[in-house]
Symmetry: C2
Subunit: 343 residues, 2 copies
Amino acid sequence: VVASHVETTAILGGGSWGTALAIHLARLGRSSRLWFRDPQQARRTERSRINTKYLPQWTIPEEVELLSDLGKALRGATAAVVVVPSRSLWDVARDIRENGPAHDILWISATKGIVGEEGRRPSEILREALGLDQVAVLAGPSLSEEVLRGLPTAVVAASETEAPAVRTQNLFHGPRFRVYTASDVIGVELGVSLKNVLAIAAGLAQELGLGHNGYGALLTRGLAEICRLGVKLGARRETFLGLAGLGDLVTTCGSPLSRNHQVGRRLARGEALEDILDALGCVAEGVPTVSAALALAGRAGVEMPITAKVYEILFRGKDPRQALEELMLRPPGDEDGSSRSGW
Amino acid sequence: VVASHVETTAILGGGSWGTALAIHLARLGRSSRLWFRDPQQARRTERSRINTKYLPQWTIPEEVELLSDLGKALRGATAAVVVVPSRSLWDVARDIRENGPAHDILWISATKGIVGEEGRRPSEILREALGLDQVAVLAGPSLSEEVLRGLPTAVVAASETEAPAVRTQNLFHGPRFRVYTASDVIGVELGVSLKNVLAIAAGLAQELGLGHNGYGALLTRGLAEICRLGVKLGARRETFLGLAGLGDLVTTCGSPLSRNHQVGRRLARGEALEDILDALGCVAEGVPTVSAALALAGRAGVEMPITAKVYEILFRGKDPRQALEELMLRPPGDEDGSSRSGW
């Protein structure tokens, strides 16, 4: 890997992934600024050097400057990673715009989720709000805790032209954090966002005792419906076979730590969605993504039977076990038939 | 689903999957003949109505005729499922041929594995040995125990023209055992066979504490190399996104019951391959498939870095942890680049 020219990096969003990325950079010998939207949280973290809310086990090294002043975070920055919850993205983008021109910065989105009825992807929102030509996307199977424990991780850096992805790769790549480049921005963002819906389904299925056969079928038919939608929206099919598709799907659905997985497990035990989200105390991106995905699918004319069932369970009080039965009873067709849906 | 015309079905091979398929058919109200190559095992099973070696928990219903006379098993049969270990396939095919003409029978292969240096697929061997136009393939994520427990399962029936796959679907499809049709026979057989190599790797990785991120990356890069080889050999890329690719991969690699997974775990603990195979007392198809896969890959000019490492660990005494480190230290490239391998 070619040595990166030294970037001045702002990481916008002090959740678990933003904090982990800042610590990761520090370990590579690269300083960064970690911006918290909430000034109180910035001060608290500054005092203890620990993100008590999201990563209580890890001390944040001195190479990470902690702040809540967006202007200061972006002053002189050559690279900025946006890693806020998708529901805050429009607000944060507006705040960024008010802080001056964004054109000389390499913008990288590490936010997952599909936003609103229009089903906008995070990089689309940033491009539009900030008037940018390109926004790179950093995504893939990367549980924060494991990255910090130094366990091997492989992700993708995607951008339409090569340069932003390669710069992102140079910035983050390390011996145990492999960054592959990719060009299918749409596929990468849809893959890592929509898989959160399947993580809810996987949690439900596990709690209901679905078994390994059914789990394999659920992930396969689930990825198939994500892929059908993605291809309609301009993504490449191969992307869903890659780290941002299959890889992130396997990691998230297999990890009991995943918030979305927890949502599914608790729904299956009969808890109410509101109570679950209150108890988690943080964002489960799969929940708002379900509605956005169905809105997109409706406009694109694509059937998403599994996503539709998750929607009914989450928002219409549908019994999870019955929903699963109904999925199983759909008539089978040709496996790749996009007209015959099956699941 | 259209009601099937009544088939007279022979199931050739009384291992766990052959026995499970016979019991499954009985539950659908369909009788069958289950042929054991070993006359002693046939007699023992006939006495107890239990396949004590492979499925000791399940009674075999009266609708299943147990026998070791191949001629009798095939007499008047309209459908025959071959489900013997891949290493016995040539021998069994020769025995079948000696028992008379095979042309009026719907042949279905449910054997997994790639055979010998030539890397022959089971359906190829049957076609050649029996002089057949077509052999259908029944495959997918289907742990025997779970099928018998009535847990939901989805598999594919593949054949080049539609009719054999549809007949296979009609024969086996049931409310909790969904059979999808497919036409990419090459892809289906390669997917379900080569994934056993990755199941060994997954067992190794689990025992070595790889973590969820690395597990996601391993399955993704592993399926990518299977897909590269498959496409070179005439398979369709989409097949590897389906039940016989991703589905079977997720189920097998995630199940501690899988023999191949056990092989990997025990290798990582430092046990010798011979001792492991002795202790298992049954076939782990991934082991012979590793060499066959590398032979195929060599001839096709495709790099398979993960399969190559599994080969070194199995047959060259390579240290598993070091092999994993070496995989991680390969330079990263473009994610879909078939020329740059990465892993």
